[in-house]
C-alpha cells in the first residue's frame, strides 16, 4: 500500500484575545491508500483544525499554518498556489462536515450543488453532470433521485442531508475523504445507516477516509488506525485493535474507562478522568494532561513527552509509559 497523505510536523496557530493558541502543535500522521484513519479527541483538541489545515481552509488572518508539510501523493499542499489548491479541494480530497444544514447552500437546488463541482472539476456538460448527479444520489440511497434534484436542502431531513453531503464528497471520485464528526448531529438509528453507507462506499470505491470524532464506539467499528489527540498534540497512535486492547497513554486509558458500555455488566460507579479539559491559552509547561493524570511524576510538569514508538506501529507520548504498561499487566 502506498502512502496517500502524510502530515509532517504540522503547526497551526490562532491569534486570540488571550494570546496565541497552538491549536495543532507539531502533529504528524499519515493515511495509506484505501485506509480509514481516525483522529479522536474532545472539543478543542485540534482534530478539526488538523483536517482544515489539510484543506488549507484555516481562516486567516487569525488562523495560520505556521510550519510543517502536508504531502498528498508526494506533493506538498502547503506549497501550492491558491489556484492549484482549488483543484485539490473537492476533486482530489472530498470533505463531509458535521452540520449538513449549515454546510449546504440553502438557496441552491440539490442538483445544482452536485453538478457545480462536476462541471468545474471534471469539465462535464450540464446534461452529463445531471446524469452523474442522479447516479450519485441513487448511490447514497436517496429514493427517487431524479425528482430530488430539483429540491432544496430544507426539503431534506438531517439524515438525507448527510447522504447528500456524502454524494457531494464522492462526486469527483476523490482518493480521500475527510469526514468531520459526520454523524454527531444525527439520531442513533440514522447514525448507523450513514456510517454503514460510508464504510460500504469507501470499500467499494477504494477511497481512503479520515474520520474525526469524539465517539470511541464509532472509531472501534470503522477505523483501521487511530490517532488520539489532546491539547493540540497526538498522544497515542496505534491500530484500532491494538489501541483498544492495550492503551498505552493514561488519557486513552482514562477515556476508555470513563464510558459506560453496553457489553459489560453495569458498574456501581463510573471512573471519570478528574479535573477540567485543558485551557489552550494557559497550558502547563510539560505534558498538557499532567494536571489530570494519575501517573503524574515531577518530570511531567517540566518537559513535554515525545511521541515514541513502543512496538510495531504503536506510539505513545508519556514519560511514565513503562509504569502504565506494568500496572496494566498486573
Amino acid at each position: 500500500m502506498a502512502t496517500l497523505l502524510e502530515v509532517k510536523n504540522l503547526h497551526t496557530t490562532f491569534l486570540t484575545n488571550a494570546g496565541v493558541v497552538r491549536a495543532v502543535d507539531d502533529v504528524s500522521w499519515d493515511i495509506q491508500e484505501g485506509e480509514t484513519v481516525a483522529l479522536v479527541g474532545e472539543s478543542g483538541c485540534g482534530k478539526s483544525v488538523s483536517a482544515l489545515s489539510v484543506m488549507r481552509l484555516v481562516s486567516e488572518p487569525a488562523g495560520r499554518i505556521e510550519s510543517g508539510e502536508i504531502l498528498y501523493k508526494g506533493r506538498d499542499l502547503l506549497k501550492l498556489s491558491e489556484e492549484q489548491m482549488r483543484s485539490v479541494r473537492g476533486r482530489e480530497i472530498g470533505m463531509i462536515f458535521q452540520e449538513p444544514m449549515t454546510s449546504l447552500n440553502p438557496v441552491l437546488s440539490i442538483g445544482r450543488q452536485l453538478t457545480e463541482g462536476l462541471e468545474i472539476h471534471l469539465k462535464m456538460t450540464p446534461p452529463e453532470a445531471q446524469a452523474r448527479a442522479v447516479e450519485l444520489l441513487g448511490m447514497v440511497g436517496i429514493p427517487d433521485p431524479a425528482r430530488r434534484l430539483a429540491q432544496y436542502p430544507h426539503h431534506f431531513s438531517g439524515g438525507m442531508r448527510q447522504r447528500m453531503m456524502i454524494a457531494m464528497a464522492l462526486a469527483c471520485n476523490p482518493s480521500l475523504i475527510l469526514a468531520d464528526e459526520p454523524t454527531t448531529a444525527l439520531d442513533v438509528t440514522i447514525q448507523a445507516q450513514i456510517l454503514e453507507l460510508m464504510k460500504d462506499l469507501a470499500q467499494r470505491l477504494g477511497v481512503a477516509m479520515l474520520i474525526i470524532t469524539h465517539n470511541l464506539g464509532v472509531v472501534a467499528r470503522y477505523a483501521d488506525r487511530v490517532n488520539v489527540m489532546y491539547a493540540g498534540r497526538i498522544i497515542e497512535q496505534a491500530s484500532a485493535a491494538e489501541l483498544y486492547a492495550n492503551p498505552r497513554h493514561p488519557y486513552t486509558l482514562g477515556l476508555l474507562r470513563s464510558v459506560p458500555r453496553l457489553d459489560e455488566p453495569r458498574r456501581a460507579r463510573l471512573d471519570p478522568i478528574d479535573g477540567q479539559p485543558p485551557d489552550l491559552t494557559r497550558l502547563p509547561r510539560g505534558c498538557a494532561f499532567s494536571p489530570r493524570c494519575t501517573y503524574r511524576v515531577e518530570r511531567c510538569a517540566e518537559a513535554v513527552p515525545p511521541l515514541v514508538a513502543l512496538d510495531a506501529g504503536h506510539r505513545s507520548a508519556c514519560w511514565e509509559c513503562e509504569r502504565l504498561v506494568k500496572a496494566q499487566a498486573a
Binding site: E42, S43, S157, G159, M160, D187, V188, T189, I190, Q191, A192, Q193, L195, E196, H214, N215, L216, G217, V218, V219, A220, R221, A240, A241, Y244, A245, G254, L255, L256, S258, V259, P260, R261, L262, D263, R266, R267, R269, L270, D271, P272, I273, D274, Q276, P277, R292
Partner: protein
C-alpha cells in the same frame, strides 16, 4: 415498592401548525399521544428515544412549561392541572430541571452566586443575606465546586463546571423530583462520567427522584432503575433496566441497542446489527396501526391495521407490539 411520587396518565400534547391569522389549519403535530407511566420516590426513570419522539415535551408537560392537550399529571398526590398558577408555584419548587446546554441556560450577566441566590430569594427559603450566602456556599460545595466560584461569571467556567452550577441551582429549591433533560450530552466524554457520578451521589444523599431524559442508551442503562422507550409520541416499551437491556421485547428497542457502537474493535467486527430502514415519519401524519411498522423488520399485515396496546408481557415488563 415505595410510594408513587409522580404519575402521568394518558398524557396527550398536540401542537397546532400552519395556518396564519386568517387561514385556519387543522393540522396538528402529535408530539405525545397517550403516554402513561409512574415514578416512585428515590427511583431514576430513564426516558429514551430519538429526536421528535416526545421525550422532552413529556418533561416540559410535567414541569407545566407546556399545557397538556389532555391527560393527567399527578405529583405528590395532587393533580397539577387542577391548581392555580399561585398554588403551582409552590408545587413546582419541588420539581426542578437540569437542561442540556449549560452554556445557554445560565444568565451570562449574573455571577454564579447571584444565579444561585435568586431562586432562594424569590421563594424566601432562607432569611437574610448572610444566610443566603452560606446556603450558596453549601450548594457549591455539594456539587464539587468551591465557595469562591460564587464570584465568577458563567463564561469563566468550563462546560462541566457550568453543568455543576445548573445542578446546584436545581438543588437550591430542595426538590423531590429533578427532570434531567440530556444533562451530559453536551459535555466532553471525560467530563460526562464526573457529572453522572455526581448525580448518583446526590440522589443517595438527598433521596432525590430523577426523570432522566436522554438518547445515549449506555448512559441511560448506567443511571436508570427502570427505562421507558418512546417512538413517535408513544411508549413502545417499559421495563426494569436489566430486563430491557438483556431481553428487549420491542423491535425498535432491539434496533436502538444494536445501533450503539461499542468501543471494542474485536467485538464490533463480529457483531450482528440491525440497521433500520428509512427514517422516523413526520408526527404530522403518523402511520396508521403501529407507528413503527414502516421501519419494522418484523412487520406483518395486522401491524399496519391495528394499534398495538401497551401490555404486560412478563411481570413489570411492558411492550406495545403485536408480535411480542
Amino acid at each position: 415498592m415505595s410510594e408513587v411520587l409522580l404519575e402521568v396518565r394518558d398524557l396527550v400534547k398536540h401542537f397546532p401548525v400552519g395556518g396564519g391569522f386568517f387561514s385556519r389549519s387543522d393540522a396538528v403535530v402529535r408530539a405525545i399521544d397517550g403516554v402513561s407511566f409512574s415514578l416512585h420516590r428515590g427511583e431514576t426513570l430513564g426516558l429514551v428515544g430519538e429526536s421528535g419522539c416526545g421525550k422532552t415535551t413529556t418533561g416540559r408537560c410535567i414541569l407545566h412549561l407546556e399545557r397538556p392537550t389532555s391527560g393527567q399529571i399527578i405529583f405528590e398526590g395532587i393533580d397539577i392541572a387542577s391548581k392555580s398558577e399561585r398554588e403551582l408555584r409552590l408545587l413546582r419548587r419541588h420539581m426542578q430541571v437540569i437542561f442540556q446546554d449549560p452554556y445557554s441556560s445560565l444568565n451570562p450577566r449574573m455571577t454564579i452566586g447571584q444565579i444561585l441566590a435568586e431562586p432562594i430569594k424569590v421563594h424566601r427559603l432562607v432569611a437574610g443575606r448572610a444566610a443566603r450566602e452560606a446556603r450558596v456556599s453549601e450548594l457549591l460545595t455539594q456539587v464539587g465546586l468551591l465557595p469562591q466560584h460564587a464570584q465568577r461569571y458563567p463564561h469563566q467556567l468550563s462546560g462541566g463546571q457550568r453543568q455543576r452550577v445548573g445542578i446546584a441551582r436545581a438543588l437550591a429549591m430542595e426538590p423531590s423530583l429533578i427532570i434531567c433533560d440530556e444533562p451530559v450530552s453536551a459535555l466532553d466524554v471525560s467530563i460526562q462520567a464526573q457529572i453522572i457520578n455526581l448525580l448518583e451521589e446526590l440522589q443517595s444523599r438527598l433521596g432525590l427522584t430523577y426523570l432522566f431524559i436522554a438518547h445515549d442508551l449506555s448512559v441511560v442503562r448506567h443511571i436508570s432503575d427502570r427505562v421507558v422507550v418512546m417512538y413517535l409520541g408513544k411508549i413502545v416499551e417499559v421495563a426494569d433496566r436489566q430486563a430491557l437491556y438483556e431481553a428487549p421485547v420491542h423491535p425498535y428497542t432491539r434496533a436502538l441497542l444494536s445501533a450503539v457502537p461499542i468501543p471494542d474493535p474485536k467485538l464490533e467486527a463480529s457483531r450482528e446489527r440491525t440497521v433500520l430502514r428509512g427514517e422516523v415519519p413526520s408526527p404530522l401524519t403518523p402511520p396508521g396501526g403501529c407507528v413503527f411498522h414502516p421501519r419494522c423488520p418484523m412487520a406483518e399485515a395486522r401491524c399496519s391495521a391495528e394499534i398495538p396496546r401497551l401490555r404486560e408481557i412478563t411481570p413489570g415488563h411492558w411492550g406495545a407490539c403485536h408480535l411480542a
